[in-house]
């Protein structure tokens, strides 16, 4: 019981930028917490909020959706679309009492390995403080 809580994070990273950023972080040996599991998607605009809900359902404590910086999306506006839908989804999470920081949207380019590492570290710290997500009656 006294072990520190280690959150589980699902990372949904766009193939063109954020996934490259994670790769760069690895290649450059930037340290980041091992709490994240990464799934590559073609674009942040591909991420259906259902993926996030299913991740929470399957035991994730947080979900990171990361893609290209505004204006850089390989498919022009996928990231802008992602931003809109997740803003709405975040407000709904809030309504249901799920802290919206459990869902994070970040823009990371393929060269920003350090930034990727920083985003994951920050999110892991935040989730450690929030504790496990409890959607079931304890």
């Amino acid at each position: 019981m006294s072990e520190p809580f280690e959150p589980r994070i699902l990372g949904l990273l766009c193939s063109w930028c954020a996934y490259g950023g994670a790769d760069t972080a690895g290649v450059s040996r930037f340290q980041y917490p091992a709490n994240i599991r990464i799934v590559r998607v073609m674009c942040s605009g591909r991420v259906d909020p259902l993926f996030v809900a299913r991740a929470f359902e399957q035991g994730a404590d947080g979900v990171l959706v990361a893609g290209c910086h505004p204006g850089d999306c390989h498919y022009v506006s996928g990231n802008a679309f992602a931003e809109q839908r997740f803003a709405r989804f975040g407000r709904l999470l809030d309504f249901f009492g799920i802290d919206r920081r459990r869902l994070r949207l970040a823009w990371v380019s393929a060269s920003e390995g350090a930034r990727f590492a920083a985003v994951v570290s920050e999110m892991t710290e935040e989730l450690r403080a929030l504790g496990p997500l409890r959607m079931q009656v304890p």
Binding site: P49, L50, A53, R54, F56, E57, A87, R88, F89, R91, L92, L93, D94, F95, F96, G97, I98, D99, R134, M135, Q136, V137
Partner: protein
């Protein structure tokens, strides 16, 4: 009030069917008890006599319309049902030419639970007398004012005159400046709770959910041919009513309906577990009214 409308409605349905303007006419008939009406399809002029119109005509007929694609359908719509139809038309799920809409000005629908609670025994009869309802149970008769028995959604209805119709029955009421009750009072007080209390509330409510999906089946705006949220019958998560899966269902359903829910409250009405779904759907309405950053 509704007695007259009922007569007019029967006459109009009769004429529309007899004249061949419509193939069928959708309305309500008396159900298995005085407190129940059921959706009803009149297919011949003689069947128009079975149509009823009274303060228990709650079920939203909008959901049944897609079944009748390709036929000419006459139907009676109150304002909230007309909103659902308007949304379905906007989403191109229905063809306007297919419908002949008899709009009915609505004075509010009674909450059957409150009607039943007005007398000691099982309700055996219900008669309207002006703005009053005479509720009988055997020899006992209670006289209650309709406004005191309204469903929550009706007490807070802003526009009882349908926005969509080919002809209108009843006298168009001027849109009330402010609805009599604040539609969002419950949402606002719920949102004032802290997040852990909100989470605990839904956890508790959803613990009763059996994933029967009645809320989704009845919803006129849940028209997807295959719903990705519905778990198959043999899915272990459905069989065990896995709490996290139930939670995910309601969260996602709210997201899917964020733009489309018209606030008809049918989901809450049919929920066998009395889960306060209208709180969620009123929140969506509030969101649309007050776009946030």
């Amino acid at each position: 009030m509704t007695r007259l409308i009922e007569q007019q409605l029967r006459a109009r349905a009769h004429d529309l069917l007899a004249g061949g303007a419509v193939d069928l006419f959708l309305g309500y008939r008396q159900g298995s008890s005085p407190l129940r009406v059921a959706p009803f399809v009149a297919r011949a002029p003689a069947e128009a006599e079975k149509l009823v119109w009274n303060p228990l005509c709650v079920p939203n007929l909008a959901g049944a319309l897609r079944k009748h694609a390709g036929r000419r359908v006459g139907l009676a719509l109150k304002a909230c049902d007309a909103r659902s139809v308007a949304e379905l038309l906007r989403l191109r799920q229905l063809a306007r030419e297919q419908f002949y809409i008899v709009g009915v000005v609505c004075h509010g629908m009674a909450d059957p639970a409150q009607v039943a609670a007005s007398v000691s025994g099982p309700v055996s009869g219900l008669v309207e007398d002006g703005a009053e309802l005479l509720i009988s149970a055997g020899d006992e008769v209670a006289r209650r004012r309709l406004p005191a028995l309204l469903l929550a959604k009706c007490a807070a209805c802003a526009s009882p005159t349908p926005e969509l119709y080919d002809e209108l029955l009843g006298e168009a009421l001027p849109a009330a400046g402010a609805p009599p009750a604040d539609r969002f009072a419950a949402v606002r007080s719920f949102e004032a709770l802290d997040p852990s209390a909100r989470l605990a509330f839904w956890r508790e409510q959803f613990s009763r959910c059996t994933l029967c999906y009645a809320c989704q089946t009845v919803c006129p705006l849940c028209f997807c041919k295959q719903c990705p949220l519905t778990l198959a019958r043999d899915d272990p998560r459905r069989q065990t009513r896995e709490p996290v899966s139930v939670f995910a269902y309601h969260l996602m359903r709210a997201y899917h309906l964020a733009d489309h829910c018209t606030g008809c409250d049918e989901c809450e009405r049919v929920c066998p577990e009395d889960i306060p779904l209208s709180l969620i759907y009123r929140k969506l309405e509030l969101e649309r009214q007050e776009p946030q950053a």
